[in-house]
């Protein structure tokens, strides 16, 4: 096949295309080709800005903390494109759970959250809340006491493991070991939660004894 054959083949294909779609002109063909090239370059060669976007933690966030707007601060001095991507990040963070401990003021990215809490493999007690809590105060790491009627069901307070939602109900997950053994015999009992301490960073473990 010579170069002349190739040229003739191209000319024949062009004539056939024009016969089928006379609205295709060289200008429109070049415009379509240009748009396709730009899209290819944009999505293949230009890095995804999404991976660079982040927000800052408003306080210490323990693992399984449920994310809400009050728990992060928007970083300042970002460019317009960064701000657009950050808005997308914030939409994706809402309602997710922190994957690892994050210090106050540290950046939070997409990789730091997960869709469902990773609760330890032990028995949990679900306690129904009256409504959506204030996430800054009542979240994973909050210290609470549970009452069933006039009696305290938790002799030494309990640590909230996570707060999950089912339809419109909000449920706090507490360790069964935090409850008095004889307080959970009646399934009809409705425990109520009372906040004792805000979520805080746990103290460092004591050094091992020599």
């Amino acid at each position: 096949m010579t170069w002349e054959d190739v040229k003739q083949w191209v000319v024949d294909r062009k004539r056939a295309l024009i016969a089928k779609a006379p609205w295709i002109t060289m200008g429109r063909f070049l415009a379509i080709f240009y748009v396709g090239a730009i899209l290819c370059v944009t999505f293949v060669a230009v890095p995804d800005q999404r991976d660079r976007s982040f927000v800052l933690a408003a306080r210490y966030l323990g693992p399984n903390t449920r994310m809400a707007r009050t728990l992060w601060i928007e970083p300042r001095g970002q460019s317009l494109s960064d701000r657009i991507e950050r808005d997308r990040l914030e939409e994706e963070l809402l309602g997710k759970y922190v994957r690892r401990p994050i210090e106050g003021g540290a950046p939070i990215a997409r990789a730091d959250v997960m869709p469902w809490p990773d609760v330890p493999d032990e028995d949990v007690v679900p306690v129904l809340l009256d409504g959506e809590p204030d996430w800054m105060m009542l979240n994973q790491g909050s210290t609470v006491e549970v009452w069933i009627g006039p009696k305290a069901a938790t002799p030494h307070y309990a640590l909230v493991q996570a707060i999950v939602t089912s339809d419109t109900k909000w449920i706090a997950l507490l360790r069964r070991s935090d409850f008095a053994p004889d307080m959970l015999g009646n399934p009809g009992d409705k425990p109520t939660l009372r906040l004792v301490r805000f979520p805080h960073k746990p103290p460092p473990p004591p050094p091992p004894k020599p």
Partner: protein
């Protein structure tokens, strides 16, 4: 301060420079600076330090420096305006032109085809008087030979055909001559064996037919004129240009050639010396040209801005969304400027043609040539002047001395 500056600028430069080159350059510099402010930290810091948060003296110095730079850039833009306009007119290399001329040719052929159809429709409708004669003869024949025959068929074949055409009339659609002729023949055939004076329905059909023929004729003439104007205002008589704007530019030459057999390109610069003698005509010509220059400048500055920002967002500060906006939105906006410029070129062409119509005799007088006595004489003068000027053929003209005042 800005108004004082603009007044001073007008004293040194014409208002056409200010509008056609300075304003576009000023606007695009300002807009690009505004876009860069939140995106480029170095520019934001410099602008804050030297303009926005600087002392009055410092801000004035830097602002004036920027404006001077803009004036210089606008001057360069003005110097390049002819070249930039010719680029949009399609003054490219032959190989590149060949890729785009076929599409423009197809556009032209589509108009010519519709024009031909309208012409044929007009030619068919020109036979309408003959149809009326046929009906008249049939009416006489029927009245003489069948004085008592009444035409009242059921169903009425002519009513259905007329109703279809009346529906087209109501919707302001075209009524084909062929259908009208068919109905005329049907009425004539009916009249040959009936007495129309005793057949009110036939009479009514004939009156409706007459109205429809008049409507069809008016529409066909109007359509023909409109298509002819569309062809003349979009394409010249000479070689087809690869761009819409180039073809609009050719309409000036096409008109002058068609009307006067004059090669406009050889007399255009001479005409530009004549027109300023009439202030109003000169103002109209310069205004049209300035608006054209303004739009051409906006096109190229938009394209330049899009290219620069595309490079920034692709290589320096990579961002997919911003790259798409710059590389797709910018050219789309530039294309809108181009379409506006092409339409403005039509206005400029109208003014240029009018200028030639008005000042062509003054042009001949400036060349010391005798004014023509009639149209044919004028055409002879322009044709032979072109042969002399363009091809150097041996042509002789008698000079006329200027009149002593």
């Amino acid at each position: 301060m800005l108004s004082t500056f603009l007044t001073q600028l007008q004293n040194y430069f014409s208002k056409y420079f200010v509008i056609g080159s300075f304003f576009p350059m000023l606007t695009f510099t300002f807009l690009n600076g505004l876009i860069a402010y939140p995106l480029v930290g170095a520019w934001r810091s410099w602008a804050n330090a030297n303009i926005l948060q600087a002392s009055a003296g410092g801000a004035a110095f830097f602002t004036a420096s920027i404006v001077v730079a803009i004036v210089l850039a606008a001057y360069v833009l003005a110097a390049l305006s002819t070249f930039l306009r010719r680029m949009l007119e399609g003054q490219w290399s032959e190989g590149f032109r060949k890729l785009f001329v076929p599409a423009q040719n197809r556009r032209r052929e589509a108009i010519v085809k519709r024009l031909t159809e309208a012409g044929m429709e007009m030619a068919d409708l020109a036979y309408a008087p003959k149809w009326n004669e046929g009906i008249g003869a049939a009416w006489t024949e029927g009245r003489q030979n069948y004085p008592d025959e009444v035409w009242a068929p059921d169903p009425d074949p002519i009513r259905a055909s007329l109703a279809e055409l009346e529906d087209k009339f109501t919707k302001y659609e075209f009524v084909p001559a062929g259908k009208l002729q068919e109905i005329a023949n049907t009425i004539a055939n009916a009249l040959k064996s009936h007495n129309m004076d005793k057949s009110p329905r036939l009479d009514e059909h004939y009156r409706k037919l007459t109205g429809l023929i008049q409507y069809a004729d008016d529409r066909a003439r109007g359509r023909y004129a409109r298509l002819q104007n569309e062809l003349n205002s979009n394409f010249g008589a000479q070689e087809i240009a690869p761009t819409k704007m180039g073809n609009v530019a050719n309409t000036i030459q096409g008109y002058v050639m068609r009307r006067y057999h004059c090669n406009f390109e050889t007399v255009w610069s001479n005409l530009q010396r004549i027109v300023p003698k009439d202030d109003k005509a000169n103002a109209a010509l310069q205004e049209a040209k300035t608006q054209l220059d303004f739009l051409v400048a906006c096109y190229w500055l938009t394209l330049l801005s899009a290219v620069l920002w595309s490079i920034v967002f692709a290589l320096i500060d990579p961002s997919r969304l911003s790259l798409l906006l710059a590389s797709l939105g910018g050219p789309a906006l530039a294309y809108m400027w181009y379409r506006a410029a092409a339409e403005q070129y039509r206005s400029f062409a109208d003014v240029a043609m009018t200028s030639f119509d008005t000042f062509r005799f003054d042009l001949l007088r400036e060349m010391r040539l005798k004014p023509p006595v009639d149209i044919e004489d004028e055409r002879w003068i322009w044709e032979n002047l072109d042969r002399l000027t363009t091809f150097g053929e041996s042509q002789n003209f008698q000079y006329e001395p200027p009149k002593q005042t």
